[in-house]
Symmetry: none
Subunit: 414 residues, 2 copies
Amino acid sequence: MNVFIVSIGDELLLGQTINTNASWIGTEIARIGGEVVEGLTIKDSKEAILNSLDFSLSRADVVLITGGLGPTKDDITKYTLCEYFNTELEIHQPTLDHITDFFTKRGREMLEVNTQQAALPKACNILFNENGTAPGMWFEKDGKIVVSLPGVPYEMKGIMIDEVFPRLVDRFKPEALYYRTIHTQGIGESFLAEKISDIEDALRQDEIGLAYLPSPGLVRLRLSGKRNETNRKLIANYLDQIEDRIKKHVFGFDGAFLPGVVSELLIEKGYTISTVESCTAGAIAKSLTSISGSSQYFTGSFLTYSNALKKEFADVSENILTLHGAVSREVVEAMAQGGLKKIKTDFCISTSGVAGPNGGTDEKPVGTVWIAIASKKRVFSKRFQFGTDRSRNIEMTVNAALNLLRCEILNLNT
Amino acid sequence: MNVFIVSIGDELLLGQTINTNASWIGTEIARIGGEVVEGLTIKDSKEAILNSLDFSLSRADVVLITGGLGPTKDDITKYTLCEYFNTELEIHQPTLDHITDFFTKRGREMLEVNTQQAALPKACNILFNENGTAPGMWFEKDGKIVVSLPGVPYEMKGIMIDEVFPRLVDRFKPEALYYRTIHTQGIGESFLAEKISDIEDALRQDEIGLAYLPSPGLVRLRLSGKRNETNRKLIANYLDQIEDRIKKHVFGFDGAFLPGVVSELLIEKGYTISTVESCTAGAIAKSLTSISGSSQYFTGSFLTYSNALKKEFADVSENILTLHGAVSREVVEAMAQGGLKKIKTDFCISTSGVAGPNGGTDEKPVGTVWIAIASKKRVFSKRFQFGTDRSRNIEMTVNAALNLLRCEILNLNT
């Protein structure tokens, strides 16, 4: 199952938008056992689209096209596909109904250009777009497949997951690669590689692949091999070995998502949580509430950016603030204890630090962050030294705080 | 000056690395007046490289290849280029000296594979790589140019800036493209297109290009034309016309970033801001503090997820909550007034809504969000109806709230 991706959009060639659609598709096609063999980015022009179809069909079995399906005048993909597949447009009633419904529900006026989005090529299967007004289109020619999808990432992903991947799997029955992922927090890629180097040697001897996929504060390890029972057992065994080696850092497997893991743990134990945030200014609360149903465990927060609010709302004493400064163990622990008491939750996370890029001192350089966790049992805090990039520092702090909370609930912190 | 980018790398096709090189090159080529007409991503394979050369040379005057020049076995670009251009490798002494020096300075041992990096095709010009060991290669064939560069971003960028762009400008003397961007919030792509359709017709007659670039809650409009004085004036005039037509929605031009625009406005006027957030749970505070120096205007927030906290911290009365429910004009206005009084700022933004995907009712379906803004002058609120995707709803709410605040400060809300 060889796939060729055609990405349409002047904004991609001009560098105004980064092509994250192509990388998402690459990952997902690999997951279902196919392979993206090439990707071509082209302009919103008829000549470029026609030429890309000839080229891509000479290189792969399946061509996935994204972009150029919007309602505006610069979007010409649909008309060009009609020409290439020698067909014409006609109004597709289920799509028109969906578009009408889409606008009605949002209380927005429906325009003629939106009606025109329901005019679709006769010679294709229509792929329902739950999240938007431009459906996908599935064409076949000489045993090859051409699928055209909107470029808006969440619309494209929705149609891929619901409509395209199931049909491709059904058609090609690809021999899937078997792989599993282990998710870690708070351990750098090279340090991790060193820590598990003997395990890595062993799994490579067993022809199991290992890839490190880092993001700020997190590293995913992906183990892969041919899909068979031996490899399934081997990989499960290697995952156990890795987890045992670095237990505090491993927060989950496969599709695990740190806020999701923490949320499940809180719901399972029946605990409530609040935050008192300074340098992260809501980023931890935002993360804890990124999951539907978060009101089961999340109660609320004080974002105490100013020292006045740290005193007034989180009951941090003037004395501690003057003596130690806002970025200190004493203040961050007082903040967590103040939040626990006033918001009345089982746990309270607090942060205070220098997010940067300015505001550092010799003693507390940019990237210095204190995180505390208070519960009825105890208050516990830890100092971190991150880098100089503001948004990265905030992201690293959120990940560190969520994993500290996970370890605190599971009694893994010392 | 038409440019075709070939990006070599299995990791790009597998989605493990996002192709930021291509977007950087796109931006820089536009800046010097060229145009990236297409981009192709291929595997580290001889067949794919040879095929991409035929295809790309049929599509453009200049082919820029990145990747596949490392010292390891899977990097085969150099050998394939020798075959394509019918030449052979020989040691290039200045490159060998540079590599030797590179290793000596870093106190690292030089291996045979590194020496081999100085073996370069006879039939090309060598482009010096200050930041690494693999130099760039500049080939010419039938009046067309093929340049091969390393894939490591900072090495690629260094060679581009020092060697490639000056040679291209010298050779093609390109007439640069001139373009400007206008940023809007709160007006859908199709509604916007309809609102300015007469302006769009006029600018297309003047051969000015117009592109719509949407993201959740925001649409950027890019106007472009050949770089000359006439177009500079024409585009400025069209931007004025568009701004006049949809004043409330336009928050900036060119590199504008909504939280940055709001932060500059707050600093300029000397205003302070707080938030009382329910459904956004810190997302507005996070956005307001994404800029360094945000403590000049941001004081703090209450995140009142539970009704108990809405009452206790934001002074919302039990009576109002029971009568109207948490997602209502009355509650969201009371929250903003409570925050203004207790956090003592010039403005306070509040939110209450159903972020979804669950929790909606017939009267208040998923995506219903109320936003209020309180100041000494007045309290003002607005109801929004977004979609069913939780994170998108939160992002749309943040953008709507920031633009409402901007309009409130500038007296554009009615």
